[in-house]
């Protein structure tokens, strides 16, 4: 059994690390498709990337129910670390979670398993935090939407391969929808519900 003393650490400087992490995520959300680096360092439980850990320490607390993909949910260190550092309740019902952490793309449920919010309160939706292989190289995704001057190209290696096809549901549902934060190590890219895939290629 792991004791708290053996748990990976949180932020050394909670206040300033949370601020810089938030600014990276905010800039990412404001400029979809652009890559932002999370500089703050904390310990990471197994299977959780540095960027994901920093986002958790910055945005999660007892007001944000979390859903973990089965592989993470089965790693007791992940749950212990999250609970100890963020106090966020971990839920098994994905439709009520504020954030969902996905480390293993194969375990990403259909998006309608999460909350899209309502037309009156579209903000009451799940934000998906999806760990991917790379946000620097891979396929080219040409994106458009608010936050993008014309179009922008994201080069990334993302699983599931059909992520953007699945996210097309955002266009139909708007203002309801799912916002996604992609994490690869310390790099983050946001794909809010307003972002559209224009083209995809090598």
């Amino acid at each position: 059994m792991t004791t708290f003393a053996e748990l990976p650490s949180g932020f050394a400087d909670k206040v300033l690390s949370a601020q810089t992490t938030f600014r990276s995520v905010m800039d990412a959300m404001a400029r979809p498709g652009s890559v932002h680096c999370i500089a703050s360092a904390s310990g990471t439980p197994p299977g959780v990337m540095r960027g994901t850990a920093a986002i958790a320490l910055t945005l999660f607390d007892h007001d944000t129910p979390l859903w973990l993909d089965p592989r993470m949910a089965q790693a007791p260190e992940v749950e212990k670390w999250l609970k100890f550092h963020t106090s966020a309740p971990i839920v098994s019902d994905s439709s009520i979670c504020s954030f969902a952490l996905i480390g293993n793309a194969a375990e990403l449920p259909a998006l309608d398993q999460f909350s899209f919010g309502s037309n009156e309160y579209p903000d009451r939706s799940t934000t998906l935090i999806l760990q991917v292989e790379s946000l620097r190289e891979g396929l080219a995704f040409e994106l458009s939407g608010p936050g993008i001057d014309g179009t922008t190209v994201l080069q990334a290696t993302i699983e599931p391969l059909d992520l953007f096809a699945r996210l097309a549901i955002n266009a139909t549902l708007f203002p309801r929808g799912i916002d996604v934060v992609l994490v690869a190590d310390d790099a983050v890219v946001a794909i809010p519900r307003t972002t559209r895939l224009v083209a995809e290629g090598d």
């Binding site: 300033l16 938030f22 959300m29 309160y121 903000d123």
Partner: protein, 294 residues
């Protein structure tokens, strides 16, 4: 006694997390007002508590903060808010629009174009653009949900029928990303076009009404109008008496009790920068008579 101690940028971390989550949703749903559990701040509601909470939630050690009220860095409330952050967050402050990374504003958008990487934080008194047409939150929320904005067009058209013009001079409603009708805060409608396709991120905080909303960079912002009555900007037709600018929004300064007045830039940084570049107006020493009409 419980001696007060305060966190970096005043707000406690739990409050910041809550506001930060609201900001992310606001950016993801441009123009939609995200409810948030606004806190009592050490300045009165209505004096910028929403803007202050947003600024406090985003501000970091490396930021350079500018605060304006009525376009000016020197108005008393702007000074008060700037001092609050200089004291609680120890951040650098500036009056330069170009140098600032975060600009908190009340009632104006700076004249010069904002650049990527900047955040403009608006103080908002009544975030609901439909509030004066329908006082009930339950109703206005439904109207936004359905994108049902006919009432707003009816109101604007009634103005035209009565006055020959749309009689809204400030807080002129806009449509964001072709979906949400949004209150731009009580900026003069002269400023509305600056919101469209702006390179900076625009965040809006309404403390008393507990709402945060946003316009991401490069987002379409259209002032509501009619084909036969297109949106027009208003500016007094005169150059600035101090810097000669012919494109800036002007303050009217009454200089005596005989009707003399002069017009100067409302954006003091814009005006001072122009003056330092050698631009001159009809000059400040002798106030000139107002022209026949504007």
């Amino acid at each position: 006694m419980n001696a007060p101690t305060y966190n970096f940028a005043y707000l406690d971390e739990q409050t910041k997390r809550m506001i930060r989550r609201a900001i992310l949703k606001a950016i993801a749903i441009p123009g939609y007002q995200v409810p948030f559990a606004s806190r009592e701040m050490p300045m009165p509601y209505g004096w910028g508590t929403g803007g202050v909470q947003v600024t406090a939630a985003i501000l970091g050690r490396d930021d350079v903060l500018k605060v304006i009220d009525q376009g000016s860095d020197d108005t008393t409330n702007a000074i008060s808010i700037r001092k609050f952050f200089a004291k609680t967050a120890g951040v650098a402050t500036t009056t330069s629009t170009t140098d600032a990374t975060v600009i908190q504003t009340r009632h104006r958008i700076p004249e010069g174009a904002l650049h990527a990487g900047q955040v403009l934080v608006y103080q908002v008194p009544i975030p609901e653009p439909l509030r004066f047409l329908e006082p009930r939150e339950t109703e206005t929320r439904r109207m936004h949900a359905l994108g049902e904005y006919g009432l707003m067009h009816v109101k604007l058209y009634e103005d035209i029928a009565r006055f020959g013009h749309i009689a809204t001079a400030y807080a002129y409603p806009v449509k964001v990303n072709a979906r949400y009708v949004m209150d731009p805060s009580p900026t003069p409608k002269f400023d509305n076009p600056k919101m469209d396709n702006c390179a900076a991120l625009q965040l809006f905080g309404a403390g008393r009404e507990k709402r945060i909303y946003a316009i991401p960079p490069h987002t379409s912002v259209v002032s509501l109008d009619f084909e036969d009555h297109p949106f027009t900007r208003y500016r007094f037709d005169a150059p600035c008496a101090l810097c000669g600018a012919g494109d800036s929004y002007l303050d009217e300064i009454v200089t005596d009790d005989k009707g003399s007045r002069m017009f100067v830039c409302s954006d003091t940084d814009y005006c001072e920068t122009r003056q330092s570049q050698g631009h001159r107006g009809s000059e400040s020493a002798a106030p000139h008579k107002e022209r026949a009409h504007g």
